[in-house]
């Protein structure tokens, strides 16, 4: 059947791209199946943005590895404010700030922070297993850790304020990334050397796209350990710090910079 052969053609071409090509039409419109498939993907992304992370459950799952866990809030107290006011999501709520100041912790090497960001699903699925891989690696290096911080309605830069208050040499924040239609549970890790309020994006490193179809937990954790080691040696993070592990193996592809 000719129709089947056209379907087969597009199915074969989809090996080259995840774009929604060859999805067919009725009149000018989408066939029902393609229409509902899109609606489903958008629904998953929307739910991921608006879901609340069950931080209590995450805290109890992490308790065996992390005896001291702090629950904090950003200055954006609800989701609508969070989405409209990125500046509020970047700073701690005044009570959370006072809580950290009152702690009077000793200086440490790494502060680990978990924030919901734009995908609750990413945090609920990946934060616990990822932290359980990262923590033993940090400990094997003998690096001191601050209490683990779980922060609600946080954006990336809130990690810098937390790291500063915890007197950490480096802050590492795990955060839910903006959901796309194809992946709603992608997690990102950002790290800052000498964290303090007012640091900009160019002063941080990012490990992005951590999810089952993307970067694996182990690959992400290995890259994190590499970057943390380099950051301590060179006393910086940001645009000057790149993943140069590959280049030792001398790849010759000029477009891969």
């Amino acid at each position: 059947m000719a129709e089947q052969s056209e379907n087969e053609l597009w199915q074969r071409l989809r090996q080259f791209t995840n774009a929604r090509i060859g999805i067919g039409r009725v009149g000018d419109a989408l066939p029902t199946k393609a229409n509902l498939a899109f609606q489903q993907d958008h629904a998953l992304a929307r739910d991921a943005v608006h879901a609340q992370v069950d931080f209590a459950a995450i805290a109890s799952a992490l308790q065996p590895e992390f005896p001291q866990i702090l629950r904090l809030k950003s200055a954006a107290l609800d989701r609508a404010t969070y989405l409209k006011r990125p500046d509020l999501g970047r700073s701690l709520h005044v009570e959370s700030r006072l809580q950290l100041e009152a702690l009077q912790t000793d200086p440490c090497i790494v502060a680990l922070v978990v924030a919901d960001g734009l995908s609750a699903v990413a945090i609920e699925r990946h934060a616990v297993p990822l932290l359980n891989i990262i923590k033993p690696q940090l400990e094997s290096l003998g690096w001191s850790l601050a209490p683990l911080v779980l922060v609600e309605q946080g954006r990336v830069a809130i990690g810098d304020e937390i790291g500063e208050l915890l007197k950490a040499e480096l802050v590492v924040i795990l955060i839910g990334e903006r959901p796309g239609l194809s992946v709603a549970d992608s997690l990102g890790i950002y790290l800052t050397y000498a964290p303090q309020r007012g640091r900009n994006d160019a002063e941080r490193n990012c490990i992005s796209n951590i999810h089952p179809q993307g970067l694996s937990y182990v690959a992400a954790s290995d890259l994190l350990m590499y970057l943390l080691g380099q950051a301590r040696q060179r006393r910086l993070t940001g645009v000057a710090l790149k993943d140069e592990r590959q280049q030792l193996g001398a790849t010759n592809n000029p477009t891969l910079e």
Partner: protein, 463 residues
């Protein structure tokens, strides 16, 4: 500095400058709230609108929103203002301009004749006291025609950019998406790829890919790889087949600097691309994108509201007579345009201001997953834009851009708008679609499982 004031029910509202007045008169949007520029109440907003309506247009030539001395966009606006074109509307206030624009007697020719006399700030000001229907009605009367290998902007036409992006620039994935889009009759505005890697090598190989397809099928279209303007200049030097040079632009010198550009660089690129003489029926060679919020996100807005900053970007565009200009209206996120209502309003404002200033205005009607918007908002907006005579919109497979991670309009959506509103693609491209048996005389798609383009698509993987 002049002070502006208006009273509502014994309460006097005072605005200390033209830029404050413009900001306070702007319909509500999250980006102006984020910048701390928004009216404190609905009453203050309407007081500002009353006050703005009485401001003479000549005031805009005397009181600039960003200093002439420190901003080259302001200098461009003031130095290129055409007093002769301005003469027919010189005596008007902002409120008077609104009525002049809507008057039956003001036709396409008159609108085109005054365009060079209208500054972006005047266009932004009048848009702030216009309802959505006013923005549609006036834009519909404006006609802006540009040419390269086909003719864009004619009455009764609605064109599309074919946007076959791929997260790793895979040539076969991109080619498959191009074949798919062409079979829906999309791509007359441009076949335009956002490259994943901004490198001369990546840009050159993508340009060759499209150029080879274009020549094989004798398509009356133009191509563009939307890399940075400096990358385009590099590959032009190396002899790559560059039809259009792309650049994102903004309405302040400092925001443009954050994009790594200035007017001199755009001038150089325009000259270089024109020098290639690749257009067959015209030589409009620039393609620009803009979007409300870009100046604020670069921390370069000088206390000017985001819509006025956006209109100023069109002054940058018109200095280079582009083939295409489009606002990317919901891409930047809900902190700038919160929901479908704000996205819709911004798109209509941008389209109106662009057309009034004499630009070939298109729109990327789009949203991200953290905005309060969905595909229904895009459907509505497409119908409104097409009714307003919008030059082109985007054609993305299934509306899902897997490289830029946002949702826009699809190949299907363009067909829907053309069929529902009786609009056609550019005439040269329409003739080509009929010649290749993609669409019939009535503009309907022809189902043909043995179509040449499908057979070519079947060769992919063996490339």
């Amino acid at each position: 500095m002049t002070s502006y004031q208006h009273s509502i029910r014994q309460r006097q509202y005072q605005f200390d400058s033209l830029k404050t007045l413009l900001a306070k008169a702007t319909p509500e949007r999250s980006g102006d709230a984020l910048a701390g520029l928004i009216a404190a109440s609905a009453e203050e907003r309407v007081a500002a609108q009353w006050c703005l309506a009485d401001v003479p247009l000549t005031t805009f030539l005397n009181e600039v929103v960003i200093p002439y001395e420190t901003d080259e966009v302001t200098r461009l606006i003031i130095d290129s203002h055409d007093q002769a074109a301005f003469a027919p509307i010189r005596h008007l206030t902002v409120g008077g301009l609104r009525e002049w624009l809507l008057d039956y007697r003001t036709d396409s020719q008159q609108l085109a004749a005054v365009a060079a006399g209208i500054t972006p700030e005047m266009a932004a000001a009048v848009s702030k006291i216009m309802r959505n229907q006013d923005l549609i009605a006036v834009a519909k009367k404006c006609q802006v025609i540009t040419r390269f290998r086909n003719t864009l902007g004619l009455a009764g036409r609605f064109s599309s950019r074919l946007q076959p992006n791929h997260p790793t620039d895979d040539p076969q994935g991109i080619a498959a998406a191009i074949f798919d889009g062409l079979l829906y009759g999309c791509g007359d505005a441009v076949i335009g790829i956002n490259p994943a890697t901004d490198s001369p090598q990546a840009m050159t190989s993508l340009l060759h890919l499209i150029d080879e397809l274009r020549q094989r099928y004798a398509m009356p279209v133009q191509s563009c790889v939307l890399a940075h303007v400096t990358t385009a200049l590099q590959v032009i030097e190396l002899g790559a087949p560059v039809d259009l040079v792309f650049q994102s632009i903004a309405g302040t010198e400092a925001a443009n600097r954050s994009f790594g550009i200035d007017l001199a660089l755009l001038h150089e690129a325009n000259q270089a691309a024109r020098g290639l003489q690749r257009g067959t029926i015209g030589n409009n060679v620039m393609y620009f994108e803009t979007g409300q919020g870009s100046a604020l996100s670069a921390n370069a807005h000088h206390g000017v509201d985001q819509q006025t900053c956006e209109a100023r970007a069109y002054a940058v565009a018109r200095a280079f007579e582009p083939l295409l200009l489009n606002t990317v209206v919901g891409f930047i996120g809900p902190e700038y345009l919160y929901d479908g209502k704000q996205i819709t309003r911004a798109a209509l404002e941008d389209h109106f201001c662009g057309k009034l200033l004499g630009l070939p205005m298109g729109c990327d009607a789009c949203y991200t997953n953290h905005a309060e918007a969905d595909q229904n908002d895009i459907d509505n907006l497409l119908v409104l834009l097409a009714s307003a005579g919008c030059t082109y919109v985007m054609g993305v497979p299934g509306a899902d851009d897997i490289m830029l991670n946002y949702q826009s309009s699809s190949y299907h959506d363009i067909r829907f708008v053309q069929t529902t509103l009786g609009l056609r693609p550019a005439p040269e491209f329409e003739a080509w679609l009929q010649q290749l048996g993609i669409s019939d005389q009535a503009g309907r798609l022809i189902a043909n499982e043995r179509h040449r383009l499908l057979q070519s698509a079947a060769q992919l993987g063996a490339l």
